[in-house]
Amino acid sequence: MIVLQGLSKSFSGVKVLDDLNIEFGEKQITVVMGRSGGGKSVMLKHIIGLMKPDSGKVLIGGIDINALKKKELNEIRKKFGMVFQDGALLDSLTVFENVAFPLRQHMKHSEKEIEDKVYSILADVGLNGQYNKMPSEISGGMRKRVGVARALILNPEIMLFDEPTTGLDPVMSDVINNLIISMHNKFKFTGIIISHDISGAFKTGDIIAMLYEGKIIESGTPEKFQNSSNPVVKQFISGTMEGPILI
């Protein structure tokens, strides 16, 4: 269980997270939606310990990760996989080496075992035959899929997705959304997706939450979210200019 308690974070006096409280259910996919620049990525970076809050707690399985030493935090991080917005693949390594990287760092597998695992997960994400390409030689959609494969290779308990469909065409976005669903069905991870892709959120999310002005203002099943009476949520779903959301 991941719990964010009273999380606040400011940058240069601007409050990005403001006493944020949310619980992410185990083995569920929670999609956190919100405006661009609204603090979604900041929230995600707090969950994985890349940022420290000004106040509040991030509890992973009841442990406050901000109270941990670096090495203890790294042990917790082994439970996580994260897919970055632009893939964040190591650009000096091939697709194969990128996916094999966590295995080489943390497991004592033979080269044959590493090959088998990498080929298997790359097949799962539909990237057969792309093993020796460099990240610069593949498309944005492929990079995201390599990112998904790399994040899943250690079979993590928790998967974080930072805007997985941003910058992709609608067809490729659907491919990525279906990939997330099929990987969730196969690996049964707890998923947190941050996105502003409405249709993708309704498709992938068990729970959808809305982050606005540093707080979670709505959270519930896709049906509940869609029928929300909150004017901010209504405006966000309808995608119109008119409404309470300040531009």
Partner: protein, 259 residues
């Protein structure tokens, strides 16, 4: 009133910036070195860096040493000729190369070649979230990126300094014998007579410090990078300039202590 205050404000800002920067570098050094006993040293990365800093820098360091030795020989000749001590050209070239120019020029050339590369490579990784990705994968980026570079620079700078000094002395010899037409035995004999092992050791000790400085500053600046492609350029420039300045400053300090 403002005209009086502005210079003091600028001095104050500069002092605060310098103190903060030195503090951050001290923390960075601590965090980098504390990661060494926590993990096994990444030998693959270390060997890559040894090749990059060492073997791949051979031509640039060799050419620098060669021309410096040749120029030294020529310049020393003009001065020595006046007082009739041309036999001292060999020791002049050798001592200058071994004690001073070999370590400093090698460090500056490797800063330009490898320090800039370290800063821009790590900087690009920072702005494209590759450093974040390493952290998320529970890989300490200092252990993975900084430590191999720092250790490789500390190990290879003395080796490259030896080569630079040796090639410089050979360059001086070529000018002494073939351009100035002086006796080659004198050149070598006088070097043996005047140069001491202490000169060589101290020169090498300096180069170890220079290696540490250039790699620490360059990787540190890489990790500080923000602001996309422009930021990478800015912090790479800072890395090269700061490393060079710190090397020259350390050179003065070490020379006054060691010799």
């Amino acid at each position: 009133m403002n005209i009086i205050l502005v210079p003091f404000q600028k001095i104050g800002k500069f002092v605060l910036y310098t103190v903060e920067e030195l503090g951050l570098i001290a923390i960075y050094i601590w965090e980098s070195f504390i990661s060494i006993p926590q993990y096994f040293i990444n030998f693959e990365n270390l060997i890559d860096q040894i090749i990059f800093i060492g073997m791949d820098s051979f031509y640039v360091v060799g050419l620098t040493g060669l021309f410096t030795g040749m120029v030294l020989s020529l310049q020393a000749y003009y001065a020595a000729k006046i007082v009739g001590v041309t036999y001292m050209i060999g020791p002049t070239v050798a001592l200058s190369m071994v004690r001073e120019l070999g370590p400093v020029l090698t460090a500056l050339m490797i800063t330009a070649r490898c320090g800039s590369s370290m800063a821009s490579e790590i900087g690009t990784m920072k702005v494209t979230e590759q450093i974040d990705a390493l952290e998320v994968m529970a890989v300490d980026p200092y252990y993975f990126l900084s430590v191999p570079r720092i250790l490789a620079a500390m190990a290879m700078l003395p080796v490259m300094t030896v080569l630079c000094s040796l090639i410089g002395i050979i360059g001086g010899y070529l000018v002494y014998v073939y351009f100035l037409g002086l006796n080659h035995v004198t050149y070598i004999e006088k070097i043996y007579q005047y140069i001491e092992l202490k000169d060589i050791y101290n020169g090498l000790l300096k180069s170890v410090f220079f290696g540490a400085i250039l790699a620490i500053i360059s990787t540190f600046k890489g990790f500080q990078t923000t602001g996309g492609a422009k930021g990478v350029g800015k912090y790479t420039t800072q890395a090269v300039v700061l490393s060079s300045v710190y090397i020259l400053f350390a050179d003065y300090l070490l020379t006054s202590i060691l010799f």
